[in-house]
């Protein structure tokens, strides 16, 4: 049971080690001839006029928020799907009610234009 996860743990360590190693390895080899202009952030050859970390559209937040909600809802569905054979009709009704409530919210978001992007 738990031993199933040991390989995963090893893999995480190996993968991270690999990523870090390549960066360190490359940093030992590559050349460094910097100058001020080269280190400027790219903005099509123009000196940046405003700070990049300016404010961005709130729609990104809305998308992320909807994602979190949907994510949680999907998480509830996973165990349901696994044991569906034992629940059958009862389970189906449960989930239809659940999805219906979700769809109400989805419809609201759609109506309010939270899904629009232009």
């Amino acid at each position: 049971m738990l031993s199933d996860y040991i390989p995963i743990a090893i893999f995480v360590v190996v993968a991270t080690g690999f990523a870090v190693f390549t960066l360190v390895f490359a940093s030992l080899l590559h050349s460094e001839k910097y100058n001020k202009v080269k280190l400027e952030p790219y903005e099509c050859g123009i000196e940046p006029i405003t700070d990049a970390r300016d404010r961005y559209s709130i729609r990104y937040y809305l998308v992320a928020m909807l994602f979190v909600i949907f994510d949680v809802e999907t998480v509830f569905m996973f165990p349901w799907a696994v044991i569906f054979d034992k629940l059958l009709l009862f389970g189906l009704i449960e989930m239809v009610v659940f999805i219906f409530i979700l769809v109400v919210g989805y419809y609201y978001a759609w109506q309010k234009g939270a899904l629009e992007w232009a």
């Binding site: 903005e43 050859g45 300016d54 961005y56 559209s57 729609r59 809305l62 234009g113 232009a118």
Partner: protein
């Protein structure tokens, strides 16, 4: 002016972000700089900044003799150099009232139309590339290569041809060249279908171009647009038909016009122009008359005092030359070009307002500007 549709988005926060697109940007077709004011991804307003490729061709021309200027005009619209040469030479011929022999006019027509196809090839490739279809780009360049080969055989150069002389042509067409041109017409016809197959009915392409950057006919006229952007809006203005030059009065061809005035219509107009150009080239090549290639031109070109304006239909639109001669010196007193790209670029700000960042590149592409011509 067309106001962009107001979406639900207007309810949400509007924080503007100023971002420079260009001069060093992969898809501003050169060194165009567009300063975008964005709300999220939507363009609230834009400033078009030009001048990064200014070489002072107009001023330089005042210190060159009349023949040397042909060489300078090559460098304006560098993807359609022959057209520039024709426009300039015809203006001077008009100023000096020189009769150009028919054979020379036919060859000029062929060169102009080959050039139009080459320019449109470059346009369709880059325009498709802007919208993310990378394959069309290489297909179009493959065919453009054939045209460049033809030009190379004709005048030895592949980009800046210097292929005209005042009063006619510098040299006659090489033997067998006309056959090769006809052969090219055969190949090109099917290749245009190939491009259309990849794009015209592609749903993503339709979604990306239909209804994007709509400009009505009267608006397009008011903004001074010309060429395909004007015809895409339904105005059937084509100098080849309206004020024929070279041998266009002897050619049968149609002027395609759009209806909606959106990016897709401009695309369709140009695609149809491919076919019409091929039609013209075929007629001209088959009916090419015998005769001299240069008219009666004095040894020292010195037009009489006066001024004239002459325009031709370049691949991009109305290419006009305004030349003043003082009648005393061997160079023009004033030399002024009305480049189609420059005037078409006027429309950009009106077009992109209210659209998304991704549409900006599509719209720059649909205007088909060449910065060498804009900045001169």
């Amino acid at each position: 002016m067309e106001t962009p549709a107001v979406h639900h988005g207007a309810m949400f926060d509007t924080n503007e972000l100023v971002i420079n697109m260009g001069p060093q940007h992969p898809s501003t077709h050169g060194v165009l700089r567009v300063v975008l004011r964005l709300d999220g991804e939507k363009v609230v307003d834009a400033d078009v900044v030009i001048g990064y490729l200014h070489r002072g061709i107009e001023k330089l021309s005042e210190n060159r003799n009349w023949t040397q200027i042909i060489l300078l005009t090559d460098r304006m619209d560098y993807v359609a150099a022959a057209t520039n040469n024709v426009g300039y030479c015809e203006t001077v011929e008009k100023l000096m009232s020189i009769e150009v022999p028919r054979r020379a006019r036919y060859v000029r027509t062929i060169l102009c139309e080959l050039q139009r196809i080459a320019s449109h090839c470059l346009w369709v490739g880059t325009h498709a590339m802007d919208i993310g279809a990378m394959t069309v780009f290489l297909y179009a360049f493959r065919e453009r290569e054939l045209i460049l080969d033809l030009f190379e055989e004709f005048c030895g150069a592949r980009l800046t041809y210097n292929s005209m002389r005042i009063g006619g042509l510098p040299l006659d067409i090489p033997p067998g060249w006309d056959k090769k041109v006809l052969e090219f017409c055969m190949i090109m016809g099917s290749k245009v279908d190939e491009y259309e197959e990849l794009l015209t009915h592609n749903r993503i392409w339709l979604e990306r171009t239909k209804g994007i950057g709509i400009i009505s006919g009267p608006d397009a006229v008011a903004l001074g647009l010309s060429g395909p952007p004007l015809r895409g809006s339904g105005v059937p203005r084509d100098i080849r038909k309206d004020e024929p030059y070279a041998a266009y009065d002897e050619m049968a061809f149609d002027v395609p016009v759009g209806s909606a005035g959106d990016t897709y219509d401009r695309y369709l107009v140009r695609m149809e122009e491919f076919r019409q150009s091929l039609r013209i080239i075929r007629q001209a090549t088959e009916g090419i008359p015998e005769g001299p290639i240069v008219g009666k031109v004095p040894r020292l070109i010195k037009p009489p005092a006066g001024e004239t304006y002459h325009a031709i239909e370049s691949p991009k639109g109305e290419l006009g030359y305004f030349i003043v001669s003082d009648g005393k010196s061997t160079n023009p007193y004033r030399f002024r070009v009305r480049p189609p790209s420059f005037c078409n670029l006027q429309g950009l700000r009106a077009l992109i307002r209210g659209h998304l960042v991704a549409d900006v590149v599509a719209l720059i592409g649909s205007l088909d500007v060449v910065l060498g011509e804009v900045d001169r």
